[in-house]
């Protein structure tokens, strides 16, 4: 493992990020089985072959502004992903699927634009996504990536809640996270209809709880999907 990444402050953190990153991918068992190759290749790419100069260094900032920018960053990635899904539909996309994916795209764009407006001059720049590892022509790959993004979004908002100091922002995060959870359930139901997967045992623990993941671990997990180098060390602090 490398220890010289500029986005990691020390070796232990770097190794932890790698570990969590891998675990986060592997934790979606269905995803790993069906799409292991794509995602594992992506995982390697982002860890080992990040090309300097392809993106900017982006710091999310501190305190509640940091949390809002963190949400803004994730919503940018989701919105860009679904925009591409609708612009270049996978072969055999049904009308039902198209309606659902268009709805989700619009929700993510609303979220993105909401955060951008709310943050005003405190907002981070528009990020440059990197979806090279996703085959947009394949239903399996697109829905697999959508599932990963939605589950990750839910875990991210759940983990960020306790970092928020202003109750108004906390409520806003709450208003959005449940919509992300609805997305996750519907995407999972498209992949495996009428099964228990919409809130599957791969993602929900024995207390019947969704994941709550800290920003550092989420940023490590999505690193491969963005060309910019995002640092969130002071989010919520």
């Amino acid at each position: 493992m490398h220890t010289s990444k500029k986005y990691s402050s020390n070796k232990a953190e770097d190794e932890r990020a790698l570990h969590v990153n891998r675990r986060l991918f592997l934790s979606s068992a269905g995803l790993t089985t069906a799409f292991g190759t794509i995602l594992i290749v992506t995982g390697c790419t982002k860890e080992d072959h990040q090309i300097p100069g392809m993106g900017d260094a982006v710091d999310l900032g501190s305190g509640d502004i940091g949390v809002l920018n963190y949400a803004y960053a994730l919503e940018q990635l989701e919105a860009a992903f679904y925009a591409k899904v609708i612009d270049s539909p996978f072969s055999g996309m049904t009308d039902v699927e198209k309606t659902i994916l268009t709805d989700i795209r619009d929700h993510e764009i609303v979220h993105r634009e909401f955060f951008k407006a709310a943050l005003a001059d405190k907002a981070i720049k528009g990020l440059t996504p990197n979806f090279d590892g996703i085959d947009f022509g394949s239903r399996t790959a697109v829905l697999g990536a959508a599932k990963l993004f939605e589950d990750t979004g839910v875990a991210a908002y759940n983990g960020a809640g306790k970092l928020i100091k202003d109750p108004n922002y906390l409520l806003l995060a709450g208003k959005i996270v449940s919509v992300e959870a609805r997305h996750a359930a519907v995407i999972r139901d498209l992949i495996n209809p009428k099964s228990a997967d919409f809130a599957g045992d791969d993602i929900i623990d024995l207390n019947g709880m969704d994941k709550a993941v800290a920003p550092a671990d989420i940023l490590a997990a999505v690193k491969g999907y963005v060309k910019d180098t995002i640092t969130g060390a002071n989010v919520g602090k």
Partner: protein
């Protein structure tokens, strides 16, 4: 961490958190009070029990007992549905077994976390005083109630987030349950939409669209963070309202849940 941490926190608030006597006496109290209530007074009286049974304790205990009330309700509802003969078709059994499993897990978690402070399970009337008289014999009614309970659960948890802001670990648990309720809600809504022939009803809430309209008041809100975002990014009102789920106050939730509770 987990449960032990929460119990520790309660014990710091109240050293008698593990006392069994209080638990037993409260059970008696609740049965007594419950049996004497005029039906119209149930929501208010029930709210009073939830709010005041542990008036000496932290706000977090109230929130957790409020959550436990709703989880008891959901848990009993799915248990009733899953044992009812010829109600849930085989094709949909996996969905409701999974939802029911989670509600049982939520109850178990909250009961453990609250220890002696946990309220006793109320008696329920799932016919909602007759409004859903065939809830365990007509699958359409069952799914209607399921979608309503799940969406109300999402709104209820969301409404308490701010109360828990000073209890970060409990807040996080509440959020982790909240998003599971939202997953349930999305699937229950889609089943209801298909069974009831309501194509405008989606996994997310468009305006205030739902199988039981009364519980969706306020979902059409387009003011977020103090700003009216109608037309944001040139998106339709449908998309803008779908993108944000709205909270409900405890009073509003208990008014909705009240008729399910016999005492």
């Amino acid at each position: 961490m987990d449960i032990f941490k929460i119990i520790d926190q309660f014990q710091q608030i109240d050293g008698d958190a593990t006392g069994r006597l209080e638990y037993a006496s409260r059970r008696y109290f609740m049965n007594k009070v419950g049996s004497k209530l005029a039906s119209a007074a149930i929501p208010t009286a029930f709210a009073a029990i939830v709010n005041k049974a542990f008036a000496q304790s932290a706000a977090a205990v109230d929130v957790l007992n409020y959550a436990l009330t709703l989880e008891y309700l959901e848990d009993e509802f799915y248990k009733g549905g899953l044992v009812a003969a010829n109600l849930i078709p085989a094709s949909d059994k996996s969905i409701f077994m999974q939802i029911g499993k989670h509600e049982s897990q939520h109850v178990a978690f909250l009961v453990k976390a609250l220890g002696a402070k946990a309220i006793a399970k109320p008696m329920f009337d799932f016919t909602y005083k007759g409004a859903f008289g065939d809830v365990f014999t007509n699958y359409k009614t069952f799914v209607t109630v399921s979608s309503a309970l799940e969406d109300t659960g999402v709104r209820a948890y969301k409404g308490q987030a701010g109360v828990l802001i000073a209890d970060p670990q409990i807040l996080e648990y509440a959020l982790q349950v909240h998003s599971v309720e939202a997953r349930h809600a999305a699937v229950a809504r889609r089943l209801a939409a298909s069974l009831l022939g309501m194509p405008a009803m989606k996994g997310w809430i468009t305006g205030k669209e739902g199988a039981v309209p009364a519980i969706y008041a306020g979902e059409e809100n387009m003011t977020q963070g103090g700003v009216n975002i109608k037309g944001l990014a040139s998106k339709t009102d449908a998309a803008v309202t779908e993108a944000f789920d709205e909270p409900l106050t405890k009073d509003a939730v208990l008014a909705i849940a009240g008729p399910f509770i016999k005492g």
